[in-house]
Each structure stands twice: as C-alpha cells, then as structure tokens.
C-alpha cells in the first residue's frame, strides 16, 4: 500500500527528503475511500447487523400469528333430525380453545331449502356475529330476520343485509354430517351474491374490488 502511494505521488523520482507526506496519513492520490471512512462504514454496518439480529426475530415473534393458521376444528351440534328448513335452531360451540366460555360462539343452523335455491341435503350454519362491528345478532322468529341490538343492523332469513350499517351478509360456518350428527367447522364469509370467500372480519366488504382492499388473511381457512 505504502509503495503504491509513493508511486502515485511521484515519489520514485524525488529524493527521500522531498517526498510529499500524505495528509491525512495513508492518503494516496486517486483513492476512493479514506481509512476513516472505511472504518466508519464498517462499524456502522456491523452495528446495524447486530441490531437487526435482535430486532428482526423480536418483530417476527410478534407478527408471526398473522401467518399462522390453526387446526381445523369440527364440533357436533346435534342430530340431523333436530334441524328443519323453515326456521333456525340456535347452537353454541367452541370456536377458540383455551379461553373457556369466552371462546364459545353461537350459530343458527337449519336444513338447506329448495325454495331458496340451495343445494339439497345440506345444512346452513349462520354466525351470530354482526358484520358491522361484531355484536351478537339474534334471529327473530316472528319477523324471520336477524337483528343486531347495537346499531340496528337487519338481515333477512338467509343472512343477507336488508337494513342498517352492516357491509355484507352474515358469515357462515362450514357444515357436514358425520354419523347422523350435524357438525360445524371453520368460519367463512359470503359476498352479496352469497358466494363463499375466506373469512373476513366485521366491517370489511367482500366481493369485487373489495377482495383486494380487504385481502384475505393467511390465518383463515379457504372457503368451501
């Protein structure tokens, strides 16, 4: 290095006493980085690397649940004969395990109806979670509607919104029949045309461009 520097400075021809002293020490003409600059950049890079080594796992730890999908959970809610076509039966089952009663949720279950152009022989489980802000809705038998007590959301017999602030029809749960028992499974949302999509939170629109503005979360199950 020092030899190079001397060559560049034209020191070869000059006697030793007349050689130019590099200033700052070690400088030679044409160098792109000073020694000080190299060490500054290197120590900052090392410090950044060390900080990233601590921060990234910690942040990942906190945001990991966004990408984690739990185990599919199915729970029997009663024999097939319990459910009819023209009205709902209220069932309570566990949606989230490990938090006791707080993890339970309510669904309204009925047999699929030919009058509503639904696939015969299936069961429909409508979530009681209002899609406005998540309050519990109630099925009012006399009106044949779901009504939310919080802000006056009203849904028809199928769960389609007919009044109030909700943004889409009521969510549903997947259903299946095992050994004569009706079982409810993961939650899914529907569009205004009753097409199933991945579960959305209350307050989020579904269908069309809204599928991009409120993207499906990796933590939800694919729709049936």
């Amino acid at each position: 290095m020092a030899d190079d520097a001397n060559k560049v400075n034209g020191a070869d021809e000059a006697p030793i006493k007349e050689r130019v002293k590099p200033d700052p020490p070690g400088y030679f003409e044409g160098e792109s980085m000073t020694r000080r600059h190299v060490f500054t950049v290197a120590s900052q890079a090392l410090g950044g690397l060390a900080a990233a080594g601590i921060v990234l796992p910690a942040v990942g730890f906190a945001v990991a649940p966004i990408f984690h999908r739990g185990k599919e959970r199915w729970e029997g809610v009663g024999p097939v004969s319990d459910f009819v076509e023209d009205t709902y039966r209220q069932v309570v089952f566990t949606e989230t395990e490990g938090i006791g009663d707080a993890g339970k949720t309510t669904a309204y279950v009925r047999k699929s109806s030919a009058d509503l152009e639904e696939e015969p022989g299936k069961f429909v489980a409508v979530s009681n979670r209002c899609v406005h802000l998540g309050c519990p809705v109630r099925f009012v038998e006399a009106a044949g509607n779901f009504i939310c007590p919080c802000h006056g959301g009203v849904y028809d017999f199928q769960g389609k919104r007919i009044g109030g602030p909700p943004v889409r029809p009521l969510d549903q749960f997947q259903t299946r029949v095992t050994k004569g028992q009706v079982e409810v499974g993961p939650r899914y949302s529907v569009t205004s045309q009753m097409e199933p999509v991945r579960a959305r939170d209350p307050g989020e629109f579904t269908g069309g461009i809204w599928e991009y503005l409120y993207p499906p979360r990796p933590s939800t199950f694919p729709p049936p």
Partner: protein
C-alpha cells in the same frame, strides 16, 4: 410591569466552584463564621449544640456532596426559576395535571400488577380478588380505572389549550407533533387496558375496537390479526394486550414525556393570545405621522381598542 425580587437561591444548592466568594469582613461559609459567636459565649457551645449544628449541616453537606458529582444544580435552578410570560394562568397547569395523572396511573398500575393474572381463565377472578379481598384493592383499582378517564380528558383539555392559545406555532411545532404521538399512545393505553378485566364489557368492547381497526383498507385485516394474535380473540390476545399495556407503551410514553418537557423548558411557554406585546415607545418618523394623520391620527403602537393585534407579540418570553 411590576418587578418581583429575584428568588434567593440557597448557597447549599450551588456547587462551591460557582459560589460567589465571601466579601471581606462579611460572613463567609458557615465554617468561617463560627469564631465570632465562640468568642462571645464559649460556654454556650455544649456538645449537644455542636451535635445539633452538625445535624443541621448534614443534609446540606450531603446535597453538596451529591451535586459536586452530579453538577445538576445549575440545570435545576435554570429550570425551576425560568421566566414565564406575563399572563400565564391556570390553563397552563393542564400539562402538569396530565403528567400527574400519568404518574398516578403508573404507580397504581405497578401495584395492580402484583395481584393481576394475565390469563384468559384467571384474569376475571384475579380482578374480583383485587376488588373484594385485597386490602385497599378496590381503591387502587378504582384509582387506576377512573384515573384512566381523567388522563384522557386532561390530555384533550391540554391539547385544546395549546390549540386555542396558538401555542403550537413556530418554534413549537415539533412539541405539538410529540404531543399528538403521546395522545395516540394514551388512547392505546386506554384501549389495551380496557380488555384486561376480561369481563363481558371488556370482551365485547375489544372485539368492536379490533374490528374498527380491521376496516382500514389493505393493512386493516392484518392489523386485526396482529392485535388478536390470530383470527379470533383468544388467550394470546389478552397476553398481548397486557404486554402492550404494561411494557411497550409506558416506556414509549415516559421517553416522549421527557422529550416533551425538555422542549417546553428549552423553548419556553407562550403568552396567552389576549396579552398584548409591550413595544418600546419611540418617536415615530414624520412620514408615519403624516400617513396616520389621514386617518384618525394614531401611530403604530397606540391602537384603538379592539384593533387587531398581530401575532408578533405572542412569542416566548
């Protein structure tokens, strides 16, 4: 403007290098003044008196010892005896009141944490235990619960005072920004703390609150999942809210309050908008007098009552 006598700063809080040297003939430091008393009445200085004198000096000596090493007295006297503008009134105490509310929340929160169990199955019963069985538990819990509302109200009043007095203007914009971040953090504290009792009210309020977060486009759904630590509100949600409420946000609030108060002391406070600036009374140039004569003959600095006052005078004192 009435002039008040300058507060006398006790010698004890001034580090020795900064103390004024004693004038010849006058009493110097306590150690130097002793002999004159002794000469007159040596018999009165019993051992008890000596002990008393040493006892009286001890706190000052201790303070001096600390300050010699900390060198904080200059900063403290500068901060505590700083000048405030004319017209400073009770509205200016809202910031300190908010700080006091925060300190109450911090202290009661620490003691609540000694009994609270952040578990979905035990949180509710631990709160019931605090309220019903722990001595003064209901009081401490009540102070924390009602103090939270008090703090939110005080924050808004403080913000309103700053806004209506125009105290957010240059050079205090950064302090306004820090204050807004503190407002958001205070709301975060209120939101996360609401879930902790884990009763019906907190459960449903948190669900509604998280769902409101979820209505933000594109990032909203992910934000909801982050807050809940999953697709549904569960046991991890409570632990997460507890950690945010106990560790994450309080640290940020304390740091930002420090920055907020540093800027208040550094930049000074503003005068209320109704206090007119005092302008030096100087003879107006002839040209201005002539211009003024066309109107009502007044010159600058001698306004008609109710005439608009420009903002120049509202700067820091």
């Amino acid at each position: 403007m009435p002039s008040f006598p300058k507060p006398k700063i006790p010698d004890a809080v001034i580090p020795p290098p900064l103390r004024k040297p004693a004038k010849p003939g006058s009493a110097g430091t306590p150690k130097g003044q002793a002999p004159s008393d002794l000469k007159e009445s040596p018999e009165r200085r019993s051992a008890g008196d000596k002990l008393l004198e040493v006892g009286k000096e001890a706190p000052i000596d201790a303070l001096g010892w600390v300050d010699q090493r900390l060198a904080a007295s200059g900063f403290l006297t500068g901060m505590l005896f700083r000048k405030v503008p004319k017209g400073t009134n009770w509205f200016y105490t809202l910031g300190s009141a908010t700080l006091f509310a925060f300190i109450v929340q911090a202290i009661t929160g620490v003691f609540l944490a000694m009994f609270y169990v952040p578990s979905a199955t035990q949180a509710y019963s631990s709160i019931a235990h605090i309220n019903n069985e722990v001595p003064f538990g209901q009081l401490v819990h009540g102070m924390h619960k009602w103090g939270a509302s008090v703090m939110v109200i005080l924050v808004f009043l403080h913000m309103g005072r700053t806004f209506f007095f125009g105290a957010y203007k240059y050079p205090r914009e950064l302090n306004w920004v820090i204050g807004v971040v503190l407002l958001i953090l205070t709301m975060t504290m209120a939101f996360t703390g609401y879930l902790l009792p884990f009763d019906q009210r907190s459960f449903w309020a948190s669900i509604v609150g998280i769902n409101i977060n979820g209505t933000g486009p594109v990032v909203g759904p992910y934000l909801s999942d982050f807050l809940r630590a999953g697709p549904e509100l569960g046991a991890t949600t409570l632990a997460r809210f507890y950690a945010i409420h106990m560790l994450l946000v309080p640290g940020a609030i304390i740091a930002l309050i420090g920055a907020h108060m540093y800027l208040v002391v550094k930049l000074g406070t503003t005068a209320p908008p109704w206090v007119k600036a005092e302008r030096p009374k100087v003879a107006a140039p002839v040209s201005q007098l002539e211009a003024g004569a066309n109107g009502n003959g007044r010159v600058n600095g001698d306004r008609a009552p109710g005439a608009p006052v420009d903002g120049e005078g509202n700067g820091a004192a």
